[in-house]
């Protein structure tokens, strides 16, 4: 759960930065756009377990001074690297779904490109992609189990330990129940956010 929360927070921020970088216009920013595309394509292409194994076993094995050896650390790094790629694509779809006339209206008021993005484009983009974002949260939540192969303790790993102790597989069931117990409230929370937003926009209709 700790891995999930830390990774999620970092992913939401990094993915947004990546999506914005990729939407920078003009030939000046071509190298940045190209890098962002290469990043997204690469990390959406490699299997999650491969990145986790590579970083989790590989990075500490280098035994370089200053490189953390904590498997939790490298697990989080791996998940952030991969899910940032996915989530940035979701953000990008949201940004592109906001009609260009919205940015034109903001710019026509004298707002800079950055101000128009922050005040007008991104708030609308993020609202629209809340459901697909949740989709990725759930994927992430399940993939945190993969970090278990590195030996940091999370629900799946813990249930393996318990199982090997007494050959009782109900622990797996408990682990599964735990995962679902987290994803379902998350889904309801998202529904609530979307509904609240709709209510707010319709508020005052009768006055």
């Amino acid at each position: 759960m700790k891995i999930f929360c830390i990774a999620e927070a970092l992913i939401l921020v990094f993915a947004l930065v990546l999506a914005v970088l990729r939407s920078l216009p003009g030939p000046v920013f071509f190298p940045i756009r190209a890098l962002a595309i290469v990043y997204a394509d690469f990390f959406r292409g490699v299997p999650t377990i491969l990145v986790i194994a590579l970083l989790g076993f590989g990075a500490p094995a280098l035994a370089i001074d200053g490189v953390p050896t904590s498997t939790t650390f490298w697990g989080v790094v791996s998940l952030v690297l991969i899910y940032t790629a996915y989530v940035s694509e979701v953000y990008r779809a949201g940004i592109e779904s906001v009609h260009p006339s919205q940015e034109a209206a903001a710019r026509s008021l004298g707002l800079t490109r950055g101000q128009a993005l922050a005040s007008v484009v991104l708030p609308q983009a993020v609202r629209r992609v809340i459901p697909p974002l949740l989709n990725d949260f759930i994927g992430l939540q399940k993939d945190t189990a993969l970090v278990g192969i590195l030996g940091s303790v999370e629900a799946f790993k813990q249930s393996q330990i318990e199982t090997s102790a007494d050959f009782n597989f109900t622990h797996y069931l408990v682990a599964a129940t735990l995962f679902v117990a987290i994803t379902i409230p998350l889904a309801r929370f998202t529904d609530w956010l979307v509904a609240r937003d709709r209510r707010r926009r319709q508020a005052g209709a009768l006055t």
Partner: protein, 245 residues
């Protein structure tokens, strides 16, 4: 106030503006008429630098806005534009729509911006809508909010791009009345419109655009009663046939 000289603009191979020449004096209300595709909207968008021009120069209030290295944002603060489709920000209340520009671009405090917005919303009969979101307003109300949003920047010039074209007929009048009030207050305006009766009432000058040039211009009585150019006559005949004049 505005000097436009030899302005050209193409989209790909389509040349939309083919050498526009137009001067607008302070307090003047100039109506641009002409068929769809004649370049009215493109000209207004070029004036606000929403579209860069390919050739020619535009001077607003003594500053050449088509010069290299001009501060686009500073310039746009002085030129308000209102769009056909309102383009209000749907995720913001009416009040926030109006205060966004003054706060972000003019650097007003929240308090000051709200005062300006309340004064303008009150003047145009929108005080009761300040906390509503745009999708709860009628088209006419939305367009009036869009006009107030542009006015809140206290621009020197207002550009109105077919602001009543997306409205139901019974909502047109409330928007036109707002524009009349602005004209009476001495606002310099450049108005692209299909409302010929309105143009005849309000304009100090009417310009007929055809195929990217201003083919004919003059006082409204002259343009609407004794147009000189055959193309202008054809256009007005079609408008009359459609019952719009």
């Amino acid at each position: 106030m505005i000097e436009i000289a030899g302005v050209r603009k193409s989209f790909g191979r389509l040349e939309v503006l083919r050498g526009i020449e137009l001067d607008v004096a302070e307090h003047e209300v100039v109506c641009l008429i002409g068929a769809s595709g004649s370049g009215k909207s493109t000209l207004l968008r070029c004036l606000n630098l929403l579209e860069p021009v390919d050739a020619g120069r535009i001077v607003v209030g003594g500053d050449e806005i088509t010069a290299r290295g001009v501060d686009v944002n500073a310039l746009r603060r002085r030129i308000g534009i209102v769009f056909q489709a309102y383009n209000l920000f749907p995720h913001m209340s009416v009040l926030r729509n109006v205060t966004l520009g003054p706060q972000k671009a003019l650097g007003l405090s929240r308090r000051q911006a709200v005062d300006v917005a309340d004064e303008l919303l009150g003047r145009f009969g929108l005080a009761g809508k300040r906390d509503d979101y745009p999708d709860r307003l009628s088209g006419g109300q939305q367009q009036r909010v869009a006009i107030v949003r542009a006015l809140a920047m206290q621009p020197d010039v207002m550009l109105l791009d077919e602001v009543t074209s997306a409205l139901d007929p019974e909502l047109v009048a409330e928007v036109l009345n707002v524009i009349r009030e602005l004209a009476a207050g001495g606002m310099t305006m450049l108005i692209a419109t299909h409302e010929m009766g309105f143009a005849r009432d309000i304009a100090s000058r009417v310009c007929f655009l055809d195929a990217g040039v201003i083919l004919e211009q003059g006082p409204p009585t002259q343009i609407f009663t004794t147009p000189q150019e055959p193309r202008t006559r054809q256009f007005l005949d079609r408008i009359i046939a459609a019952g719009r004049l």
